[in-house]
């Protein structure tokens, strides 16, 4: 297990380097000059631009800029926002909990609901309940976040007035308020997680139900419930570790939309604002953090997978 873990961790380093260099250069490829964005187009003079480029290091070769950025990033300094002057790291620290909380809550919701749905869909295949469960899964995959979010707001916030339509409250500072504010975004973001988990677990479960050992269990006269819960589910669960990891990664990306709909001060919106205002240091920082989250989640799910299924460790 130790060797496996070491191997996995070492593999992350080149990945992080590759990703950060990509993030860095992609951001610089964005159209629009950050120096121009900073002074305002009308006030632009060549000398002003030159001074800003000098100050921001934009006139140096790309690899030098990247090297300097990486060296500073390694020390935890991601620069300051071009727009507001706020240290990037401070903005990320403020906004990370919002996005992570949302992604984790949505995944938890997905597991909580996806799990029973998958069992129903797999075991009652062809029946009414099974079709319903499969239908819900298909709906969750097909429906776009922004549409679902708007519908939920319309029904639960504007019509019934049960929940707030927008905004964020920290669950640590105001638990009740935080919870109320979290429900709609979690449902919106979690819908696709429910669908994904249901579909994956259903097919894994169906595969397992067709294996020889399940047939043996059935032949021994075990009740169907025992077959599913005791024998089939356990094996079908292993791929769910990967699926959960992938789901979290995907949800982190989807927060861009959900955070906009509900006006949540998270990383997704930070990203969007940084793109629109050409706030390159902020954008580099925000993208970097989102990528690191995805890498970390994948690493954790790999390690857990290896721990649960020893065959993986050997490969």
């Amino acid at each position: 297990m130790g060797a496996f873990l070491r191997r996995r961790l070492l593999a992350v380093i080149p990945l992080v380097l590759l990703v950060t260099s990509l993030v860095f250069s992609l951001v610089l490829l964005l159209p629009g000059d950050p120096a121009v964005a900073l002074v305002g187009l009308e006030n632009v003079t060549e000398e002003k631009l030159a001074a800003i480029r000098e100050r921001m290091g934009l006139n140096r070769p790309l690899y030098v800029q990247y090297g300097l950025w990486l060296a500073r990033a390694a020390r935890g300094d991601l620069g300051t926002s071009l727009r507001t002057g706020q240290p990037v790291i401070e903005a990320l620290r403020d906004r990370l909990p919002v996005t992570l909380g949302l992604a984790v809550a949505a995944t938890a919701f997905g597991l909580l609901l996806g799990f029973p749905l998958a069992v129903v869909a797999a075991s009652k295949r062809g029946g009414f309940m099974g079709s319903c469960a499969s239908g819900i899964a298909a709906f969750g995959v097909a429906v776009p976040n922004f549409w679902l979010g708007s519908m939920l707001v319309l029904a639960l916030a504007l019509h019934l007035r049960w929940l707030p339509a927008t905004g964020y409250a920290s669950p640590l500072e105001a638990p009740w308020d935080g919870l109320r504010h979290a429900i709609l975004p979690t449902l919106t973001l979690g819908a696709s997680a429910v669908a994904e988990i249901t579909r994956q677990l259903r097919s894994a479960l169906q595969d397992t139900l067709n294996t020889d050992y399940v047939r043996t269990a059935r032949a021994k006269g075990l009740a169907e419930r025992g077959v599913i819960w005791k024998h089939a589910l356990r094996n079908a669960l292993i791929p769910m570790i990967t699926v959960s990891g992938l789901t979290i990664s995907r949800l982190v990306g989807a927060t861009v939309v959900v955070e906009s709909i509900f006006a949540l001060p998270g990383l997704g919106r930070l990203n969007l604002e940084a793109v629109l205002t050409r706030d390159f240091p902020m954008l580099q920082g925000a993208v970097l953090v989102m990528v690191l989250i995805v890498i970390a989640v994948n690493l954790v799910s790999d390690v857990v997978y290896g721990w649960v299924d020893p065959r993986i460790r050997l490969s």
Binding site: E42, N43, G85, A165, F262, P265, R269
Partner: protein, 506 residues
């Protein structure tokens, strides 16, 4: 007996007036919750360049001059001003005014502010104050500005960033941090800024105007998405929103507990033409474009009828606009005749940059179809704004651009920017000598009536020379809870919450 009758009637009248909520006395207290599209970039009024900052800056920084609903100058921190000769502007300042940190406001403070706003290393508004040669302190509450050349646009420039007064002691103490912890002399102080989420402003207890402000505070929440702002207002989470998406406005208008405001702004949609390039250097070709466009149809289809067609660079209610001018008629036959006159019987082709968002492309495609009907082919270039703006204005890579002109407080700032050969928004530096003479003349007279006459003449020549392709006025669309009282919209479309108070319930 007679007297008693009069008293009774007066009392009844007073009771009746008191019962009418529209005429009720302002009530103190309460926090106004506002949702805005964009976050403030910096609270340092001299440093920022973003047009969306003003809603945050107005409450914190009092200005030397204020504007009324027609954008005419009114006393602010300067109680009055005079121009003994065209190259001197004397400001007489209000006494007993303090900044939030207790620093007194006086002539020295004004001098400090104006020098800072002129400092190239700090300020983003150097060009507005370029004609100020010296700022002299005459006495504690009198400032004399010596000008390089007459500049009537200064007074209205002082209603904007250039007139926002910052505390000199705070600037010296805080340095670069001032933009995050501002100190002004406005009605409210910044008490909490949660970047990306909200800004909290609290009542400044020692504000100079007795009884003002009415509110205990203003909470501004940042909501970039238009539908989100509408939802927040509908659900009662905020009391005031601006920039309502046009498609939502009609449904919001009739809703219980909500009142809406729709009005013109100084901003308008236009086609920017690079008139140094053939065939747009020919007046007849530009006239053909103007005649081929059906502006009323654009207003109906693109703007849901929520605005008026644009005639001059200014909306009809603005003091500098020319009410005698008629909008360009939609006359395809005359447009074709103009093309022949320009020596282009088969029409011509030009490329036009437009923002890639659906509403913008929709408008540009409508224009494209209208122009095609007379034989003018438009090659649309949907392009991300920063790239398009840079390519068109600085790079001169395109013949035309379909963008909005965002209004400026003084008409000189608008017409000079777009139509003077030195203007940034005139990329080909096309020159109409008559127009430039009038602009310089208008800048050198200070009486509003005289200025008005000159700008009306300027409006007329802009239309005669067809140097503008105005489309429609950008409307101000705002919504608020019915208990929000005393709100005064302005032509800049940038709400200042001065005078706003809240009735206890919706």
């Amino acid at each position: 007996m007679k007297r008693i009758g009069v008293v009774t009637i007066c009392a009844l009248l007073a009771a009746w007036l008191g019962a009418d909520p529209a005429l009720a006395q302002p009530r103190a207290g309460g926090v106004l919750r506002v949702a805005l599209r964009a976050e403030v970039s910096t609270f340092d009024p001299h440093k920022g360049a973003s047009g969306t900052d003003h809603m945050y800056l107005y409450p914190v920084f009092d200005t030397l001059v204020r504007f009324d609903d027609k954008l005419q100058p009114r006393p602010g921190l300067a109680e009055s001003w005079e121009t003994p000769d065209p190259k001197t502007l004397i400001l007489r300042l209000r006494k007993n005014v303090k900044f939030h940190d207790g620093t007194p406001f006086n002539a020295e403070a004004v001098r400090f502010n104006l020098l800072r706003a002129q400092d190239k290393t700090v300020s983003s508004m150097v060009s507005e104050l370029i004609n100020i040669e010296a700022v002299e302190v005459v006495d504690a509450f009198t400032v004399r500005l010596r000008l390089k050349r007459p500049d009537a646009s200064l007074v209205l420039a002082f209603t904007d960033r250039a007139g926002m007064m910052v505390s000199p002691t705070a600037v010296q103490k805080l340095g670069d941090q001032f933009g995050r912890t501002p100190v002004g002399a406005g009605e409210y102080r910044l008490t909490k800024w949660t970047p990306g989420d909200s800004v909290r402003l609290d009542r400044f207890q020692e504000y100079w105007e007795p009884g003002r402000p009415y509110l205990d505070g203003i909470l501004i929440r940042i909501m970039p998405d238009g539908d989100t702002r509408v939802n927040a207002l509908r659900s009662g989470q905020v009391d005031f929103i601006m920039e309502i998406p046009t498609q939502d406005f009609a449904s919001l208008k009739g809703e219980k507990g909500i009142k809406t405001y729709e009005g013109p702004s100084l901003a308008y949609w236009r086609i920017y033409l690079n008139m140094s390039k053939p065939p747009l250097d020919k007046k007849a070709a530009r006239e053909a474009i103007n005649l081929a466009i059906d502006r009323a149809a654009l207003v109906r289809t693109v703007m849901f009828g929520l605005t008026d067609v644009a005639v001059t660079p200014f909306p009809s209610v603005y003091w500098a606009s020319n009410p005698a001018l008629k909008p360009w008629p939609h006359d395809p036959a005359r447009a074709k005749a103009k093309l022949i006159e320009a020596g282009l019987p088969n029409g011509f082709t030009f490329d036009m940059v437009v923002e890639p968002a659906p509403e913008h492309v929709r408008r540009a495609e409508a224009i494209q179809a209208q122009l095609a009907a007379v034989g003018i082919k438009v090659d649309l270039k949907p392009m991300e704004l920063a790239k398009g703006v840079q390519g068109y204005f600085r790079g001169q890579e395109f013949m035309a651009a379909n963008y909005r002109w965002t209004g400026r407080p003084d008409p000189d700032q608008s017409v000079r920017g777009m139509f003077h050969s030195t203007g940034f928004y005139n990329p080909g530096k096309y020159q109409v000598a008559r127009l430039e003479e009038l602009m310089d003349q208008a800048k050198s007279v200070y009486k509003l009536e005289e200025r008005r006459a000159l700008y009306q003449k300027i409006d007329e020549i802009i239309q005669q020379e067809a140097v503008d392709v105005p489309l429609y006025v950008a409307p101000v669309l705002e919504g608020m809870a019915t208990n929000v009282e005393g709100y005064q919209p302005n032509l800049l479309g940038k709400p200042a919450f001065r005078g706003v108070w809240l009735r206890p319930s919706r």
